[in-house]
């Protein structure tokens, strides 16, 4: 198992896709978390307006270092979750595209061991993406604080760690579901396409009808995107309007459901991979 983890680690850390994901997370954190809100306006003219409406503005204090966690995590339930799903799908799907899945099976200590090693390394590696987003957010908020001559005092360390933990859990779910999709579909392209449509269309649409149907509400509350949104929402009173962020379920349930989705992703992909023929 140790050898398998070392091999999977070597494969993933040398893969440009991991570092591009971190760069994309950092860029999104800077652009959507700070630059655009700062340019939209922080004069507090009408803080009650929704994004895009005339008179909308962002309270300056939400862009300062003290509210780093609240601001940074608001992008995780949708954008970074999608990023992690893409990374997970690439990690497993490429093995089929490149036909290296044969090497994994022929040289590896066992199919389940190899898949477990890949899952462990992937889940650990998405911490890099979470840290990149938080670090970029921290740097951006510090610059704004300096420019605006406001307080640059950071948030409490415990809150940052709690936020990073939540962010990591959200990314881990996306990565594992992407990995499972790659194994099931034996490619990455189809999974990335279907996954993005699911996250950006299906789940968001479902959540808009939650108040109209109990069945839809129960269904939505069991989905990974909704629970990721609620987990992020537990940090962010002032960013409740951010895409994907919601308050549909409590923090405890959100964590439990996300862990259950992660476990289900690993178990299903391992069961399929262990039994299925390798034709690649």
């Amino acid at each position: 198992m140790i050898a398998a983890i070392r091999v999977e680690y070597d494969k993933l850390v040398r893969r440009p896709a991991l570092w591009w994901s971190a760069v994309a997370a950092a860029a999104m954190s800077i652009v959507f978390g700070y630059v655009i809100p700062y340019l939209v306006g922080t004069d507090g003219a009408d803080p009650g307006s929704a994004p895009g409406e005339p008179g909308y503005s962002v309270p300056l204090e939400t862009l300062l270092p003290e509210q780093l966690v609240e601001n940074a995590i608001s992008g995780f339930p949708l954008f970074y979750l999608a990023l992690a799903l893409v990374l997970g799908a690439l990690t497993s799907g490429s093995e089929y595209t490149w036909r290296t899945i044969r090497s994994v099976v022929l040289w590896g200590p066992g199919r389940v061991t190899m898949l477990a090693a890949k899952s462990i390394v992937l889940v650990a590696a998405v911490v890099i993406v979470a840290v990149a987003a938080f670090a970029a957010g921290a740097a951006s908020s510090w610059v704004i604080a300096v420019v605006e001559n406001e307080s640059a005092s950071p948030p409490p360390v415990a809150e940052v760690l709690r936020g990073l933990g939540a962010a990591w859990l959200i990314l881990a779910v996306g990565a594992v579901l992407g990995l499972a999709g790659g194994v099931l579909a034996r490619s990455s392209g189809a999974v990335i396409g279907a996954g993005l449509v699911y996250l950006f269309v299906v789940e968001l649409l479902l959540r808009t009808f939650v108040s109209r149907s109990e069945v839809i509400e129960v269904t939505a509350k069991a989905l990974p995107g909704t629970n990721a949104g609620s987990l992020a929402g537990s940090f962010a009173e002032t960013t409740q309007g951010a895409p994907g962020v919601n308050d549909l379920v409590g923090t405890g349930q959100a964590v439990a459901v996300l862990l259950a989705w992660s476990a289900a992703g690993v178990v299903v992909s391992a069961a399929v991979f262990a039994r299925r023929d390798v034709h690649a």
Binding site: V7, R14, S103, V105, G108, P109, D277
Partner: protein
Amino acid sequence: MARNTSTPDDGVAICTSQLTRRFGDETVVDSIDLEVRTGELFGLLGPNGSGKSTTLRMLTGLIRPSSGDVEVLGAEPGTTPQRVGAVIEEPAVYPYLSGRKNLELLARLVGAGPDAVEEQLETLGLADAADRPAGGYSTGMRQRLGIAAALVHDPDLLLLDEPSAGLDPSGMVEIRELLERLAGGSRTIVVSSHLLTEIDQICDRVAVIHHGRLVFQGDLDELHQGDSEELQARLRPRDSATKVLDGLDIGHRDDGDGRLVIGAGPDRTPEIVRAFVDADVEVYEIGERRRSLEEAYMEVTSS
């Protein structure tokens, strides 16, 4: 799944019994009983699509049989990666990693050290290109890297599917020489190919698979010999020789290479030679006719 038909010490490296694989309604491998002995260089012959690769995939555990038993080195396929090296169809590489890194990763999985990696890179002529991304390798270089990976842990059994695919003539000769060097002792090598000359030059025993069925299994000499009884002779003058054979009521034909193929078994050799001598026909060479592998192959696959 595996029946206890062989052990690591019984001289049998691979044993299959009624090995069958179906994909939907199509039977791709049909009830094959294969036996490969320890230490031999065994050839798996057959045209493209005959079922060779599917058979090798079952021997490596990549796919499972629909029915039948298979045992590799006394164990279920795929359970002894430290003892088996394989190249199945075209070798796969991680394109963003160097050739050396590709090899190191696989070596680590089977417990081989860095020295083994360097040795194989050197042996397969990849040392100069070892630090380049493998995605930029030519087909031949990928083939060499695949063979290097199959050898990096010094396996007891080597399964190679079309090892010369993508190689230029000099590369094919190098691979052939490498296989001859590797063969012998306790190492068993199974080479699948549709190139008859390749198999003819290196293998001890062969199996011929046609439309998923095993149509021949045995020594190469046996395949060359075949069932038909014929002699082959170099004679002069040719006209007188054919008249002698006509007089003995023995059929004959030209083999296209200056020899006469005589339709009689070796037991009639003295009688025929005597008749030639009596008719002043000079006999430069006469003996049992050895069919080319191509002829033998065509015969066993058409019957």
